[in-house]
C-alpha cells in the first residue's frame, strides 16, 4: 500500500517510518514547484504581452524562430524525461545502483545537449544583432528561455551532487528522497518546456 503513495517515486517500499518522514518532504517539494510554476506563468504573461506590443521595430517572433532547432531541443528534453522515469524505476524496484547511475547519466547527457543547443540558439541570435537590449520582446524572450535554462542547469548540478553522494555513501534513504525530488523537478521543467515550445516557437513560426 505504502509503495503506491507516490508511484514510481516511492522510498523503500513497505517501510512505514521512512514513508512518514518522506511524505512531508515530497509534499513540500510539490508546493515549491507550484510556486515556481507561478513564476514561470508570470514570465509567460510578460512574454505574451511583449511579443505583440514590445517589438519596437526590431526582429519579430517569426524572424527569430528556428523551428528545426526547437524540434531537436524538444526531442532532447522529452526523451530525458522518459529516461529519468527509467532511473526512478531502477531506484524503486531494482536495488541496482549501476542501473540507476546509467539512466541518470543518460538523462544528464541529454540535459547537457539541450543546454548546448540553447546556447547555440542564443549565440546565433546575438550574432544577428537580436540582443535582449534591442527590444522589450527580445528581453522577454531571453529571460523566459534563460530562466528555464538556468533551472535545467541547476538540475544538472543537482544530478552531479547525487552522483557524488552515491559514490560516497551509496543509495541510502536520503539519496532516494533527493532523487525523487529531482525527478519531480525534472518532469516539471519538461512541462514548462511544453509551454515554451508551443507559445514561443510554434506560435512564433505561425505569426
Amino acid at each position: 500500500m505504502s509503495a503506491r503513495r507516490h508511484p514510481g517515486l516511492s522510498v523503500a517500499p513497505g517501510d512505514a517510518h521512512t514513508e512518514s518522514e518522506a511524505e512531508p518532504v515530497i509534499f513540500g517539494f510539490w508546493v515549491f514547484l507550484m510556486s515556481d510554476v507561478v513564476l514561470f506563468a508570470l514570465l509567460f504573461a510578460t512574454y505574451a504581452a511583449m511579443r505583440a506590443q514590445g517589438i519596437a521595430g526590431g526582429p519579430t517572433p517569426r524572424a527569430i524562430t528556428d523551428l528545426a532547432g526547437a524540434a531537436i531541443e524538444t526531442a532532447l528534453l522529452l526523451t530525458s524525461s522518459f529516461t529519468f522515469g527509467m532511473a526512478s524505476l531502477a531506484l524503486k524496484y531494482r536495488d541496482d545502483t549501476r542501473r540507476l547511475a546509467r539512466w541518470l547519466a543518460i538523462t544528464g547527457l541529454l540535459g547537457i545537449a539541450f543546454l548546448g543547443m540553447e546556447a547555440r540558439d542564443f549565440a546565433t541570435l546575438i550574432g544577428h544583432g537580436a540582443v535582449p537590449q534591442r527590444s522589450g520582446f527580445l528581453s522577454a524572450h531571453f529571460t523566459l528561455l534563460g530562466t528555464h535554462g538556468l533551472h535545467v542547469a541547476a538540475g544538472l548540478v543537482w544530478m552531479a551532487v547525487m552522483f557524488a553522494r552515491i559514490a560516497i555513501a551509496g543509495v541510502d534513504d536520503r539519496v532516494r528522497l533527493a532523487i525523487m525530488r529531482l525527478a519531480l523537478f525534472w518532469h516539471m521543467l519538461d512541462i514548462v518546456w511544453v509551454g515554451i515550445f508551443t507559445f514561443v516557437f510554434l506560435y512564433g513560426a505561425t505569426g
Binding site: 507516490h6 517515486l9 509534499f27 507550484m34 506563468a41 522515469g85 524505476l89 518532469h187 513560426a205
Partner: protein, 104 residues
C-alpha cells in the same frame, strides 16, 4: 517477488504510454505548423489545445497525479495552482491588452 515485478511492469508501461502520447502530441503540433495545415487562428487555437492536453499527459504519466484518493493533496494543489495561474495570466493579458488598445 512476483507482485513487485508486476507493479514494475505496470509502471514501466505507464512511462512508455506517457512518452508515446507526449511524443505524438508534440509531433502533431510541429506538423501543423511546419505543414501549414490550417489558417492562423485555427493553428493557434489547436496548438494551445494540444499543449494543454500534453501538460495533462505529463502530469498524469510522469508526475503521477491522478484521481486516486492517496494523491488528493497533490491533485488539489495542482488544481489550485492552475486556478491561480489562470487568474494571474488571464487578468494580466486582459489588463495589458486593454491598456495597449487604448494607446493606439
Amino acid at each position: 517477488m512476483i507482485p513487485e515485478d508486476d507493479a514494475r511492469r505496470r509502471e514501466l508501461r505507464a512511462y512508455a504510454i506517457g512518452f508515446a502520447m507526449a511524443a505524438a502530441l508534440t509531433g502533431v503540433a510541429f506538423a501543423i505548423v511546419a505543414g501549414r495545415m490550417m489558417g492562423t487562428g485555427a493553428t493557434l487555437l489547436s496548438l494551445g489545445g494540444l499543449a494543454l492536453v500534453q501538460v495533462a499527459v505529463h502530469f498524469r504519466y510522469f508526475l503521477h497525479i491522478d484521481l486516486e484518493k492517496s494523491h488528493r493533496d497533490d491533485l488539489q494543489l495542482v488544481l489550485f495552482t492552475a486556478l491561480i495561474v489562470a487568474v494571474m495570466v488571464g487578468g494580466s493579458l486582459w489588463i495589458l491588452w486593454d491598456q495597449h488598445a487604448r494607446m493606439m
